[in-house]
């Protein structure tokens, strides 16, 4: 896809700005993990991992660390002072019970009503896998979706209705793509921020669902997010 767009790191930086200091945050595996690397060091964030960690720190130096201390993406991590370990059932109490302030999830599709599809496609014969996505999607106080605006083939991922199997209905609060920041509000989608150089019409053309625009749409400048 040609034309103006944010880089992956710009996107991650933009998501990171939405995470307030003091928040309990769960970052989904894949792209969302990047967000943790660009959050301002001025903020004190407590990262949660579904496998029973609160206060997760960065990866250990190569060859160091505990091989069983991994995050949800199965990568080695560390624990910050103040961190704690607990079992899976308690961990999912935190997720499903509304105790996680913000989660950043990847998405295959998001609907105009905030439905999220991020666990299965319509691919046939591929064994399915769900993990903790459904618990997080229904339980986190604020669900941010961090995804590309379209598929590699250019098919819109923001749609009137999801065509892939749902993860959860009506849960997404905000969508971050390389083109825009879009809020899910009662009645549909509102564009809050738009990448510099892209017209509203061009954004709408790459979006399956009808978009409204905020009174003041903020410009997202690549390289200066």
């Amino acid at each position: 896809m040609s034309g103006p767009r944010l880089s992956l790191i710009d996107m991650a930086r933009r998501v990171a700005r939405d995470i307030p200091s003091g928040a309990y945050v769960n970052l989904g595996i894949g792209m969302p993990t990047l967000v943790g690397e660009v959050v301002s060091p001025d903020k004190e964030i407590v990262y949660h991992s579904e496998n029973g960690i609160l206060g997760m720190g960065p990866a250990p130096a190569p060859g160091e660390g505990d091989p069983e201390l991994i995050n949800a993406g199965k990568q080695p991590v560390t624990l910050l002072p103040g961190g704690s370990y607990f079992h899976h059932t308690d961990s999912f109490m935190m997720m499903r019970g509304g105790h996680i302030d913000v989660t950043v999830l990847g998405g295959f599709q998001v609907s105009a009503a905030g439905d999220l599809a991020n666990w299965a496609t319509d691919e046939v014969g591929h064994p399915p896998a769900v993990g903790g996505a459904m618990d997080l999607a229904v339980g986190a106080k604020r669900v941010l979706v961090f995804m590309t605006h379209t598929t590699k083939a250019g098919t819109p991922k923001i749609l009137p209705l999801c065509t892939y199997p749902l993860t959860a209905a009506g849960v997404v609060d905000r969508i971050f793509t390389e083109l825009a920041v879009i809020d899910v509000v009662p009645g549909g989608l509102v564009v809050r921020e738009l990448v510099a150089g892209l017209s509203r019409e061009e954004l709408q053309a790459r979006t399956g669902a009808r978009l409204a625009f905020a009174d003041e749409v903020v410009e997202l400048v690549p390289g200066a997010v």
Binding site: S21, G22, Y24, E44, V46, H48, L54, G55, L79, P81, G82, G83, S84, Y85, F86, F92, M93, M94, M95, R96, G97, G98, H99, I100, V138, G139
Partner: protein, 222 residues
């Protein structure tokens, strides 16, 4: 910087409004957040619903709230005790509504609230009067009663130590309802014997991670 420590008991209970549902930890005289309950008494909120295992004894804490007409309803497993005079007085006078819940169900209903569940079926009480008006279902050949989550606006609990993130460890059997109540309330307020530095609590031994805690206040000697 995350810092859940507050400097005084009034600050700890500030904002508890009339009509609030308040979860109060403790079993018998073990683990009762006595100073927090007295602070709530001073704060003045009325028309409260208390969720607590016992209904107070003598003239202190929960008994004092009941005596001072602050409590409209109590959700409880064992209101009677040797000194539960104010509970009995107000109950007999028809001034205090009682919802009696089996002790395990009381705890499990709060856990369900904290865990984001919509309710559960339990065999406890399913054959009893306490199941009246509730859905009863045969599961694996046994009667089970459907119980709903029980959420609090505020939880008042007692622990032994806390750090600025609100991580908690408890002391012996004073732990009782504390960890569950901490998960089940919008605002969880904890009195601790001692503040410690972040990192001083063993991450393998933290009982209540700070995610469940909003305010901690130090009450030396408690």
């Amino acid at each position: 910087m995350i810092d859940k420590r507050v400097g005084s008991l009034p600050e700890a209970v500030a904002g508890i409004g009339d009509g609030a549902t308040v979860l109060v930890g403790g079993f018998g005289n073990s683990g009762i957040p006595v100073e927090l309950v007295h602070a709530l008494l001073d704060e003045g909120a009325r028309d409260l619903t208390l969720v607590t295992n016992n209904a107070g004894s003598g003239e202190t804490d929960v008994a004092a709230l009941i005596r001072e007409h602050r409590v409209r309803k109590i959700i409880c497993s064992y209101p009677r005790s040797s000194g539960s005079i104010w509970f009995e007085e107000r109950y007999r006078a028809g001034e205090l509504e009682l919802e009696l819940v089996p002790q395990g169900t009381l705890s499990e209903r709060m856990r369900a609230a904290g865990a984001g569940l919509g309710g559960f079926f339990t065999p406890a009480g399913a054959d009893s009067l306490l199941a009246e008006g509730k859905e009863v279902r045969m599961i694996n050949g046994r009667r089970h009663v459907f119980e709903e989550p029980l959420h609090g606006d505020v939880a008042l609990i007692k622990a032994r130590k806390a750090d600025r993130w609100g991580n908690l460890v408890y002391s012996t059997a004073a732990r009782n309802f504390g960890p569950t109540m901490a998960t089940a309330a919008t605002v969880t307020v904890v009195q601790v014997r001692e503040f410690v530095e972040l990192g001083d609590l063993d991450p393998e031994c933290i009982v209540t991670p700070g995610i469940f805690v909003d305010r901690v206040v130090e009450v030396a000697g408690s």
